[in-house]
């Protein structure tokens, strides 16, 4: 009887502590994207470099490519940029949305270092951002050659993520399409 009296609350407390432990380990910002596995959402925007040229989702589709969402006011994007440069150097195509930005500031952001992006869609009002479910910059999508979103990262890329998730997934997609 005495033993039961102690055991029951003890087990209950341990269970609760276990829940807390798991809960504390979870990243409340890591949100599943409902867009993974879906086709790249449609959009129509001016090209960043040439206002007369229109860019749509079709311009992003055709090969395995990353789509990065960035802005010149976003310091995390700047910190992420070297990794994008490295990926571009390795021959990976990176398209992007310039999000809630001005051309002037964004041009300075690109020329300060170099430009890792292939095509850049200019999205000053976050219109395409809403279609693509953009929370906040930086965000990165991985498209397969058919234009299906295979991966989404909210927040900056880092070497571990690139090594363990992005590069293997790119290799997998390339193998599927060989």
């Amino acid at each position: 009887m005495m033993l039961r009296r102690i055991m029951l609350p003890l087990v209950a407390i341990l269970a609760l502590l276990g829940l807390f432990y798991v809960g504390l380990g979870m990243d409340s910002r890591a949100l599943p994207s409902p867009l993974v596995g879906k086709p790249a959402p449609a959009f129509q925007l001016e090209s960043f470099f040439d206002p007369d040229v229109t860019i749509t989702e079709a311009d992003f589709i055709g090969e395995t490519a990353l789509v990065n969402v960035w802005a010149s006011w976003c310091s995390t994007c700047l910190a992420e940029k070297p990794y994008l440069m490295e990926l571009a150097r390795q021959g990976i195509t990176i398209h992007s949305f310039n999000y809630r930005d001005t051309r002037e500031n964004a041009r300075r952001y690109l020329s300060a270092d170099m430009n890792p992006y292939d095509k850049i869609a200019f999205d000053p009002d976050g219109e395409a951002g809403m279609e693509w479910g953009v929370y906040a910059t930086p965000e990165t999508y991985l498209l397969d050659p058919q234009g299906t979103i295979r991966y989404k990262r909210i927040g900056p890329l880092n070497p571990k993520l690139i090594r363990e998730e992005i590069l293997p997934l790119i290799a997998k997609i390339e193998a599927e399409n060989r």
Partner: protein, 173 residues
């Protein structure tokens, strides 16, 4: 000298008590304020053709979550994304979209998380029912305890021998 020490100690204690009371008052005030009203509305001016559309808009902006500032609705939030979402809700409502169509539109892009009031579906069953489950479990435990107590036999009166022993003990023998 000694009196001074006592006096400062008394003062210290008074100050500590006052500080604690102030903190408590602040807490009560903050709670009261929180209960009275949430943040001031930051809504862009909206203009609808019909009262139904207006009502739908006002309802939806309070039911959708600003996904960058996770514990605010898009009605309360100042974030740019919340502004975009309010605008989108406005445009779709004005264009005649139904409440469900607008919610579906945002859920497709941002996931279930965008709903400030989670829908009742397979993966939220526990979320919605757990308070009632806990109530039921608590009730069962309570009933069990009450029944056990009732089963306890009331203590019988002391025997003459016991009474004697008690009396002797009291007298300290």
């Amino acid at each position: 000298m000694n009196g001074d020490v006592i006096q400062t100690r008394l003062q210290d204690r008074l100050y500590a008590t006052a500080a604690r009371l102030l903190a408590l008052a602040g807490l009560v005030l903050a709670l009261a304020a929180g209960g009275v009203g949430t943040a001031a509305p930051l809504v862009n001016p909206v203009d609808f053709d019909t009262a139904e559309q207006e009502a739908q808009y006002q309802k939806l902006v309070r039911e959708l979550r600003c996904t960058v500032c996770q514990s605010e609705t898009i009605y309360e939030s100042n974030a740019a994304l919340a502004g975009d979402m309010r605008r989108r809700v406005y445009e779709m409502t004005a264009a005649g979209a139904s409440e469900q169509e607008i919610i579906d539109f945002l859920v497709q892009r941002y996931g279930d998380y965008v709903r400030y009031r989670p829908a009742f579906q397979a993966n939220t069953v526990l979320l919605w029912t757990s308070p009632f489950l806990i109530l039921v479990v608590g009730g069962l435990i309570w009933m069990q305890v009450v029944r056990q107590r009732r089963r306890l036999v009331p203590r019988e009166a002391l025997t003459a021998q016991e009474r004697d022993a008690l009396e002797r003990f009291r007298r300290g023998e």
